[in-house]
């Protein structure tokens, strides 16, 4: 029986390899996701280890309750004199304090270097070279010794043609300043730390620049020989008060690795989500292929039964075939996944996230998961066809009519399909509209079940839909058109399941398009409504806002009148980390028109309380006058009175005063700066004045309202392009499914095509017939996909209405283009099958069994 299975695979290698493609893609994405993450961690692990070789323990500010919340932006500091007690601790060989902060380099053209991805880091220079994370590259100068000197990383130097002796402007939280490059540094062997830019200054200078006079960000400690880092960390900790902690370098590295992995988490989730889509679409194609193959081999299977094979053996034969296909495809998939991971690393490098050099990491876990996914999906997809194979009666070997597929009632299908759709929609709506825990899973699984349900019902729709879609064909192409239409209608199940694979991809693309269009229209309307001001300024640096020095200069301009700023930070409200914004209640109303409760700003100013978004108020059954506990990174905070509400969630859930912010957070930069021109000054003149200031701050972007909207829309578009690009791969898989179905159908219809050729159908007509059959299938899938996608988009947009995504927008032209593309994809899918059909030898085709 196993030999029969192997022979079955080889006899069907063409059709099975098309099937296998879907598995290859799915497994490849799973493998790529793991390989990439593992490789990144391993390489960074190695890199971080080399940068901390001389350090055993770090003494640093204690992390507050939720350690991850304030990572990087709110690290805090410890008093300089802490070092005395550290040095006094037995087992400490040496210790040195340093500061870290934000410093962004400006290149010779006056543009800010980096900042839109990897961090722009500033450090003080360690006097003890063994404690320094970096080393001066041979022949590239020395460390900074006096104020005004800077060492930069080799990667930034090389990319921007900077050398020792050059003068360079540096942006910090204060006004920009110029420094002389005295050295170029590398991290161990690597020129770059994941593309981060690095600026290092003499300690006192760094403390001044980062606004940390008399403070250290951390103290690096080296242990005496024979003292383990763990012992030393424990010993130092006992001498410190609760605000300061000592951790081993290893632990600190692990934390950094976690941050890096978290940063890559988005990519990881995207890859795995896509793998899921590919595998799901693939399951349809596999199931379809096996079903057709079983149908075509009914006689052969019956013969096996007739000569003594049991039903179980026949089932096993099909399952083993699936196993072989799944195995081969998974192995190839893992290989492709490794290549994909390499490509991904190259792409990351191209975008400036420099990966450290090092080997690729392929863990056994990756292989096991990849193989399992591939095998399980293939076998599960083949199970139903396999059971069908087992039901072939032995007598079918002799009697043609029994060998034909029996038409089963569609009533059962209508019921199961409707129930499945109902369950899917219910789960979806529960996930979207109720605050049940794990709602994202409700949505994901609900969507999946919904897709399944639609695909179960689809055969019922196949016949009428094909009749409508194919209606013009007989008029356009005569009998070739009529046959194209008829052929899509003769096996509704096959047409439907082929189209269903495409439906999924199209539905997801439509969903993303609807979601994007809705966000865009919501964003532009909320920006237009909320910001009546003339200008806004924000930082192009992901990590840091606009320097207060910029804001002061703008305030000083005679052309500019009202100026108000918004700051943003992450705090713990009632124990949950959430972003919180700070405004100046006396001026914010002059540049924004946020929908707040009457007198809210005045109350905020008076009480130093907090404004809460309306929806949260309802959700938590809070009311004005209640208190919420807010814990800030830089101070313990405490109960804060709710003094008003804000309608829109566009900003953040909580609004506090700027004065409360300054006590609670160390980051003094502005998230947004709004400014109005003075009455009587031409907008263009005001713009010129503010642009003049911004020229000194290359990381500040000044925009008027329409630019702000355009900018927001462009960012949304970029995300859409990324997701749509990934989802198009799902469509390509589905298109291969169409190719596969048609290729199999042509084998079934060999005699028919031979007959048509014999009675005078020219090759072009044969190709046309198959091409239009493919187009109908593709359009059927696209139409279902558009429907399902619109529904999903509508549901999600409605669900997010209270998060400020109120407007449901349908990008009609995009959807029309997508449907046309689907038709075109159908034509492309038909190229190979139609060519093959038109090349059939007429005589052999007629004689074909």
């Amino acid at each position: 029986m196993f030999r029969a299975a192997f022979k079955g695979v080889f006899a069907n290698k063409m059709r099975l390899s098309l099937t296998a493609f879907a598995i290859v893609i799915g497994v490849a994405f799973v493998a790529a996701s793991f390989v990439f993450t593992d490789t990144v961690s391993a390489r960074f692990d190695a890199l971080l280890e080399t940068t901390t070789t001389g350090v055993d323990v770090y003494v640093r500010p204690a992390q507050l309750a939720d350690g991850d919340v304030w990572q990087n932006t709110e690290v805090g500091s410890i008093p300089e004199d802490t070092i005395a007690s550290v040095l006094a601790t037995p087992g400490v060989r040496t210790a040195e304090g340093g500061v870290a902060g934000f410093a962004q380099l400006v290149n010779k053209e006056g543009d800010a270097i980096g900042g839109q991805g990897p961090p722009t880091l500033g450090y003080s220079w360690a006097i003890d070279a063994s404690m320094s994370p970096v080393t001066i590259k041979d022949g590239n100068g020395r460390g900074p010794e006096i104020p005004g000197e800077i060492v930069i990383d080799a990667n930034s130097a090389q990319a921007n043609d900077l050398a020792v002796g050059d003068t360079i402007a540096v942006l910090t939280i204060g006004a920009p300043e110029e420094f002389t490059i005295v050295g170029i540094a590398s991290f161990g062997e690597s020129d770059s730390l994941a593309g981060a830019t690095l600026a290092m200054f003499e300690l006192g200078e760094a403390q001044r620049l980062f606004d940390l006079e008399g403070q250290f960000s951390a103290i690096s400690v080296a242990a005496e020989p024979g003292v383990t880092p763990e012992e030393l960390a424990a010993d130092i900790s006992t001498t410190m008060n609760g605000d300061i902690e000592a951790v081993t370098a290893e632990q600190s590295n692990d934390e950094q690795l976690d941050v890096i992995s978290e940063g890559l988490g988005f990519l990881n989730i995207a890859l795995l989500a896509f793998a899921a889509v590919a595998v799901f679409v693939g399951a349809f194609i596999i199931s379809n292929t096996f079903r057709i193959i079983v149908a075509q081999r009914t006689r052969e299977l019956a013969l096996l039964r007739a000569v003594g094979a049991t039903a179980k053996q026949v089932t096993w034969m099909v399952v083993v075939e699936a196993l072989i296909v799944g195995f081969v495809a998974s192995v190839i998939g893992i290989g492709v996944g490794v290549l994909l991971a390499i490509g991904l690393a190259a792409a990351m490098n191209a975008f400036g996230f420099n990966m450290p050099e090092g080997p690729l990491t392929l863990l056994p876990r990756t292989v096991i998961v990849g193989m399992t996914v591939g095998l399980v999906v293939t076998i599960v997809s083949a199970l139903l066809p396999a059971r069908k194979a087992a039901r072939v009666p032995p007598v079918a070997a002799m009697r043609e009519e029994l060998a034909r597929p029996q038409r089963r009632s569609l009533h059962v299908r209508a019921v199961t399909g409707s129930v499945t759709v109902g369950v899917g929609i219910a789960a979806l709506l529960i996930g979207l509209f109720t605050s049940v825990s794990g709602d994202i899973w409700f949505v994901a699984i609900g969507a999946l079940v919904f897709f399944l349900g639609v695909s179960i019902i689809a055969p019922l729709a196949a016949d009428p839909v094909a009749a409508v879609l194919g209606w013009p064909l007989p008029k356009m192409f005569g009998v070739a058109g009529q046959l194209a239409q008829d052929n899509t209608r003769r096996q509704p199940r096959r047409t439907a399941s082929t189209a269903s694979a495409l439906m999924i991809g199209v539905a997801l693309v439509v969903f993303v398009a609807v979601f994007g269009a809705s966000i865009k229209s919501s964003v532009s309307s909320s920006v237009t409504d909320s910001f009546p001001g003339d200008f806004s300024a924000q930082s192009t640096n992901f990590a840091v806002g606009v320097s207060p020095a910029f804001t002061e200069e703008v305030r000083a301009l005679t052309e500019i009148g009202d100026v108000s700023t918004v700051k943003i930070g992450v705090a713990l409200v009632e124990g949950e980390s959430t972003s919180i914004i700070a405004v100046d209640p006396t001026t914010i109303d002059t540049v924004t028109s946020l929908d707040v409760s009457p007198g809210a700003y005045e109350a905020l100013e008076e009480t130093n309380g907090v404004l809460v978004v309306e929806s949260l108020l309802d959700e938590n059954a809070w009311s004005i006058g209640d208190s919420v506990t807010i814990e800030y990174p830089q101070n313990p905070g405490g109960p804060t009175e709710i003094v008003g509400t804000i309608a829109s969630e566009n900003f953040g859930n909580y609004v506090i005063t700027e004065s409360a912010y300054i006590v609670g957070f160390s980051n003094p930069t502005d998230y947004l700066v709004f400014a109005n021109s003075v009455d009587g000054v031409a907008i263009a003149d005001a713009r010129a004045a503010i642009d003049g200031v911004a020229a000194e701050y290359p990381n500040v972007k000044v925009q008027n309202k329409s630019e702000l909207v355009a900018d927001a829309e462009m960012q949304i578009d970029q995300m859409l392009v990324f997701f749509t690009g990934l989802l198009f791969l799902a469509i390509i898989i589905a298109v291969l499914g169409i190719t596969n179905t048609l290729a199999l159908a042509i084998i079934e219809r060999t005699r028919e095509i031979g007959l048509l050729r014999a009675v005078g159908m020219v090759r072009r007509q044969v190709r046309r017939m198959i091409r239009w059959e493919a187009v109908i299938i593709a359009l059927f899938g696209a139409v279902m996909g558009v429907g399902v996608g619109l529904f999903l988009g509508w549901a999600v947009v409605r669900a997010l209405a209270e998060s400020g995504l109120g407007l449901f927008a349908v990008p009609v032209s995009q959807i029309v283009v997508l449907v046309l593309l689907a038709a075109l994809a159908g034509m492309i899918a038909a190229i190979y099958p139609s060519w093959k059909a038109s090349r059939l030898n007429v005589l052999e085709a007629i004689a074909y069994e």
């Binding site: 009998v479 008829d486 048509l756 020219v762």
Partner: protein, 248 residues
């Protein structure tokens, strides 16, 4: 002179036709320098033992297969020089086919199947001729039925009607009654003979059944890829006699 006269009378002819399959030791000479004419308005049966080359002869005459050597003419057209497209159009316009089985497109009804060659060509049927053929074949009340709703005999008669509907130069039939019982077979062959006698059509039929062959005006006997005998106005008995003779 005689050649010219013959050619105008012949709907199809083969000259020095040789067909070799395979090569080396496996070489099979299916047709061996065969020449034959098929006159207009005549019903010709081709008989011969298995492997005598009768099917190959039919296929090469019909332009479904090509000759290794020699030439085939449908009317005045030499098939060997035609490209696939022209050959296909020639089949559509000047040749009709009836195969042993699977003659019809399952998704089309009887009427659509009959009109298939015309539909493919995008041309209108000659309504009078269509009615004549459909009437003669006795299927007027079955025209909207799908093939799966027709009996085997009815299916073959639909095929025969389809072969005739475009008024072809010649119709080729390959064991058309091979799968039918004697009643259905008789109905089909009657119709074919009627088509020749009354409507002046030309039919060439391969068969191994003496009764079927007896409907023909003329029989040519093949063996080893060449014509070995010919019989005019055969009867079942005379055919059997001749077959015995050839077999011996």
């Amino acid at each position: 002179m005689l050649e010219a006269l013959l050619s105008t009378e012949a709907a199809a002819r083969i000259r020095g036709g040789t067909k070799i399959y395979g090569g080396g030791d496996a070489e099979i000479r299916a047709l061996d320098d065969i020449s034959a004419d098929f006159k207009r308005g005549q019903f010709t049966a081709i008989m011969g033992p298995s492997g005598s080359g009768k099917s190959t002869l039919l296929h090469t005459l019909a332009g479904l297969d090509d000759l290794t050597e020699g030439s085939v003419y449908i009317g005045e057209t030499e098939l060997g020089t035609l490209k696939d497209r022209d050959l296909t159009i020639l089949r559509r316009e000047q040749v009709g086919f009836v195969f042993q089985a699977f003659n019809l497109i399952p998704t089309l009804n009887a009427a659509e199947n009959i009109l298939l060659p015309l539909s493919i060509a995008g041309s209108k049927p000659d309504q009078e001729w269509y009615d004549t053929v459909v009437g003669a074949v006795g299927l007027s009340d079955r025209l909207d039925h799908r093939p799966s709703e027709l009996s085997g005999g009815q299916q073959q008669r639909v095929a025969a009607a389809r072969a005739l509907v475009s008024k072809p130069e010649i119709v080729f039939a390959d064991e058309p009654s091979g799968n039918l019982d004697s009643v259905a077979s008789g109905e089909l062959l009657d119709f074919m003979r009627t088509a020749v006698r009354e409507f002046d059509q030309t039919i060439v039929m391969v068969t191994h059944d003496p009764i079927a062959a007896s409907y023909a005006d003329r029989i040519i006997f093949l063996d080893d890829g060449d014509v070995v005998d010919e019989m005019i106005d055969p009867t079942p008995d005379s055919i059997l006699e001749q077959m015995k003779h050839l077999g011996a």
